[in-house]
């Protein structure tokens, strides 16, 4: 067998004319030319592999960077922020010496190709980000979007995604406490599988991804490196799916949750003994990313011997080892005298750990293979100084026509019978129906600290058993609103998540986001993207909740058809005493129902317009963030002072959706009356923002009304918790049984 000579740095310098497959690796011509310029010679194959994955859209944020800067520039002053954008995940101070880290990421493309593994490894990746900050993961959430509920491919993708999330998260012992499931034909072929995780640590345990201290050892630990996911980062994220191209199937990684569970435990044990100087998880771009980022963030250089990487497949080339996205691996920087103890802990947990290199006092990242130097680069040029694009953007020419097509003009129910029928149709529609068939495949109970889980407005976890300190998280996004107006749509997503956290009694503190859009090469998509970020950054500034980190997923489109712009926003909140939390379910008959906020005739983008008329047009509900803040303060005070026994935010589906959910969860009905100044239809289906419905014990009625009055929040009595029907006086009555059948059977009938 003849061998081609190893493509070392020396060899590359001596053979400048060798053609390299830079285009196949997803690099543009000018990007390749920049690499030539940086190195002053042609790259070696290994260097090209590193640059190509690290400069991919997925890793470099090259199209989004110029817009994402606003999150930093407009960040509100917040004492709570301990670590901001740029690390593996943001960290927030929640009091009593605790810090919480949280983040949402996408695993959209892999989950379409291979739903189970794509979704499973999405959970694995976000959880490693949390561990890498020094925290014990305590919960996961999963905002999901699929094509039409009755499309055959949805039946392929959804069950696999749900089983993958459950199969991985359940085995890790992480309660799944929230998220969303949304169906819309625009996600056909481009499902959105976003995964979020929360971790808790003491302030002093925060760890960062940096390699410092010359002579410190670089330890790779966890799974062996195999051929899975090679080039996944660059190939899967930088091209849209197209039938003409070869199958990308082998590019999806395979997860092993048991290995990840071991990784969590041994990492936390190493942290506890203060053995770790710097740490980075291996996700997209694998070792290329971990080594270049650790070195780039640190004070010195790094030397790595690739021969020492434990392999699952001994035939892998050095380029493949650098690009492999094998799951369940991490990289730690450890002082030499602590290496033995670190390896001992890994051995206790049966985790393979290998010293693969060390921190040097130079400023180069040097990687060796079979004695030859195959990489010699300035790590910053790989990790942080990738290309930055100012992509052209243009407001789509269809935007005006779309906004002019107002849903307020649609035919409304003409009789009480029709109104009643539309209520049933709405609560039984796939988007508004109970997602129990899905969420019952996730463990909510493990770790024994779950206070609230879906379908509550936010998931809530107790973090201190003595004091009752807890954190809450809600994720929301409404692609329909964002399509109508991306700026307002992003703010409405923020407002909804903020409101959901406050509704459960927690104070919103910080934001993470997952920005799902079409191709950045389309100026219309780029405009949506820029508008959404501007909206979100302005909104966070106004609400005082900084963006701590997040993720951008572009190229969610097939051919010309992009998904709705879908910014998904996660809001994290804190509650001093979880026993004060407010649930969604009605608790006691006789309690008074109050509608908080203003209800206007706002139906554009609404669930009603989609379910009854299959319509999308007009302008989304008006955003008033000052009102959201006031509503939030009232809900938090009322929860703390025991003035409300249940509360539910109003969002898609409007008031009737909220009342039906509270009634079914509590097993208690409601008698509603249409208040002065509103008609029945608007009361039930309007999606005006800044609203919630609360149940107030009669003994608290005066106190609650006085508080709202004193602070200027409109409050309207709309009925009482009572009986086993939901009744709108003078219009209709629906038994809980009938509502339950409509609301709870839909998803299983479509997907089981």
């Amino acid at each position: 067998m003849s061998r081609t000579p190893l493509d070392t740095v020396e060899h590359a310098a001596a053979t400048p004319d060798v053609e390299l497959p830079w285009a196949e690796l997803g690099l543009k011509k000018d990007e390749y030319e920049r690499i030539l310029e940086i190195l002053g010679r042609r790259p070696t194959g290994a260097e090209l592999a590193m640059y190509s994955v690290m400069w991919s859209e997925h890793c470099s944020y090259k199209s989004s960077k110029v817009h994402l800067r606003q999150f930093g520039e407009k960040a509100p002053q917040s004492d709570a922020l301990l670590v901001g954008i740029g690390e593996n995940a943001g960290v927030v101070d929640v009091g009593q010496g605790y810090a919480v880290t949280f983040k949402v990421e996408s695993h959209n493309h892999p989950s379409y190709v291979e739903p189970y593994q794509g979704a499973a490894t999405g959970v694995g990746g976000i959880v490693r980000d949390i561990i890498a900050m020094g925290a014990r993961p305590v919960a996961v959430v999963d905002p999901l979007r699929f094509g039409a509920a009755d499309h055959p491919d949805t039946k392929r993708v959804l069950p696999g995604v749900v089983a993958g999330i459950g199969g991985y998260g359940n085995c890790l012992g992480l309660p799944n406490i929230g998220g969303e499931v949304v169906f819309d034909a625009c996600y056909q072929g481009n499902p959105l599988v976003n995964a979020g995780a929360i971790g808790v640590m003491r302030h002093e345990d925060i760890h960062l991804a940096k390699a410092s201290g010359s002579g410190n050892k670089v330890i790779l630990y966890g799974a062996r490196t195999g051929g899975d996911g090679i080039g996944g980062a660059s190939i899967l994220a930088s091209e849209t799916f197209d039938d003409a191209k070869p199958s990308k199937r082998p590019a999806v990684q395979v997860g092993d949750p048991f290995q990840e569970k071991l990784l969590i435990e041994c990492t936390l044990e190493a942290f506890k003994e203060k053995l770790v100087v710097g740490i980075q998880d291996l996700g997209a771009a694998g070792l290329s990313c971990a080594t270049s980022e650790l070195a780039s963030n640190g004070s010195g250089g790094m030397r790595v011997t690739l021969d020492d990487v434990p392999l699952r497949d001994s035939t892998l080339s050095p380029e493949e080892i650098l690009m492999s996205e094998s799951q369940e691996r991490m990289c730690a920087v450890v002082e030499p005298e602590k290496v033995d103890r670190f390896l001992e802990i890994c051995d206790k947990w049966d985790v393979i750990a290998t010293v693969i290199g060390e921190v040097t006092d130079g400023d180069r990242l040097e990687i060796y293979w079979h004695g030859g130097k195959i990489v010699d680069v300035d790590p910053r040029t790989v990790a942080h100084e990738g290309p930055v694009y100012e992509r052209p953007l243009a407001r789509p020419d269809w935007q005006d026509a779309l906004q002019a097509d107002d849903a307020n003009k649609l035919a409304r129910p003409a009789s009480s019978e029709e109104l009643r029928a539309q209520v049933l149709q709405l609560v039984g529609s796939p988007n508004q129906a109970s997602k129990k068939w899905i969420t019952s495949q996730y463990d909510h109970f493990v770790q024994g600290n779950t206070v609230l889980a879906q379908p509550e407005d936010s998931g809530m976890i107790r973090i201190d058993e003595e004091s009752g300190l807890g954190v809450a998280i809600a994720t929301d996004g409404n692609g329909r609103y964002a399509k109508l107006d991306p700026y307002a749509g992003a703010q409405l997503a923020l407002a909804e998540a903020y409101r959901n956290v406050a509704t459960t009694g927690a104070k919103p503190l910080a934001v993470s986001d997952c920005l799902n859009f079409g191709s950045p090469e389309d100026p219309a998509v780029m405009w949506q993207f820029a508008e959404a970020i501007r909206g979100l950054a302005d909104g966070c500034q106004q609400l005082g909740t900084p963006v701590t980190g997040g993720n951008v997923s572009l190229y969610n489109q097939t051919g010309e058809a992009a998904i709705h712009p879908t910014p998904v926003v996660a809001v994290l909140g804190v509650i001093d005493d979880v026993t004060r939390r407010t649930p969604v379910a009605f608790q006691e008959e006789g309690q008074l129902l109050y509608l908080l906020g203003d209800t206007r005739e706002e139906f554009s983008g609404s669930a009603w317009s989609q379910v009854v008329h299959d319509h999308l047009g007009g302008l989304p509900p008006k955003v008033d963030l000052e009102r959201e803040r006031l509503l939030g303060e009232i809900l938090i005070s009322a929860s703390r002072d025991g003035m409300i026994d249940s509360a539910h935010d109003l969002s898609d589906g409007g008031l009737i959706q909220a009342v039906v959910e509270s009634a079914l969860l509590g097993g208690k009905g409601a008698r509603l009356v249409v208040p002065d100044g509103l008609d029945a239809f608007t009361l039930l289906f309007s999606e005006s923002a800044g609203r919630a419905v609360v149940a107030v014990p009669r003994s608290e009625e005066v106190r609650f009304n006085d508080m709202c009055g004193a602070r200027g929040l409109p409050v309207t009595r709309i009925g009482v918790v009572d009986g086993d029907t939901v009744e709108l006086q003078g219009e209709f009555e629906l038994s809980l049984q009938e509502l339950r059948e409509a609301h709870e059977g839909t998803i299983e009938a479509l997907l089981a």
Binding site: G167, D443, G448
Partner: protein
């Protein structure tokens, strides 16, 4: 003095800390036991908690039964040491032949997590004395492989001897034969069940009920008065 109750941590155990908390809340002292350590450190009883002990890629509990700690647990359980197996722990107990039968994948092929209604059928075991026979309780259930099966002879024997400790009520969540949720050995010292009593020990948390606490108070009373 109080009782010392060991909780085994296998590498993939998930509910070990929850079980320790439940033991503490019942007033006993939880003792962490490690799967590689044969020594039970003089505990008075042992709980095998839920989780995926060794990943369960082969068959739930199939590898754990060979672990060093199980050698001692098996030996002492036969001599009367009270042992409770919860979910994966139940699977380990059947694999170790401390309890008859075995567990297959749920009949609907999905993981299922729900607050499950049960009837206590046997309130005479070491772990159920604080319940009354026929009592109906709600305990969270969460599993992938929870379908209890045994041959007809074994089932008849379990039923005849009153060794079905818990039965699913209203809804059989996994296709278990005879709606069996949990069983006991003849002596009543070894009990296994699929639902998770350690997730029902505090109001507000988990299912928001405390129906699971009597497992831990039962054993504490037995050990303290013994």
């Amino acid at each position: 003095m109080t009782a010392r109750i060991g909780v085994v941590t296998f590498p993939g155990s998930l509910d070990d800390r929850d079980t320790q908390r439940a033991i503490r809340l019942a007033g006993a002292e939880p003792v962490a036991l490690w799967h590689k350590d044969k020594n039970l450190h003089q505990v008075d009883a042992v709980v095998l908690p839920g989780g995926f002990s060794y990943g369960d890629y082969l068959r739930a509990g199939a590898i754990s039964r060979f672990s060093p700690v199980m050698e001692t647990v098996i030996e002492q359980a036969k001599a009367g040491l009270p042992v409770l197996g919860i979910c994966n722990g139940f699977q380990v107990l059947t694999e170790a032949h401390l309890l008859p039968g075995g567990m297959l994948g749920n009949d609907h092929l999905h993981f299922i997590c729900r607050d499950q209604k049960l009837r206590v059928e046997n309130a005479d075991t070491a772990w159920t004395a604080d319940y009354s026979a026929g009592q109906e309780i709600h305990i969270p259930l969460k599993n992938m492989d929870g379908r209890y099966v045994a041959d007809r002879y074994t089932l008849d024997e379990l039923e005849a001897e009153g060794r079905v400790a818990f039965r699913y009520l209203d809804f059989n969540p996994n296709g278990s034969l005879n709606d069996i949720a949990g069983i006991t050995n003849e002596a009543g010292n070894v009990v296994g069940l699929m639902p998770h009593p350690e997730h029902a020990v505090e109001p507000l948390i988990g299912s928001g009920r405390t129906d699971g606490l009597p497992f831990f108070t039962s054993i504490l009373k037995k050990l303290v008065t013994a």
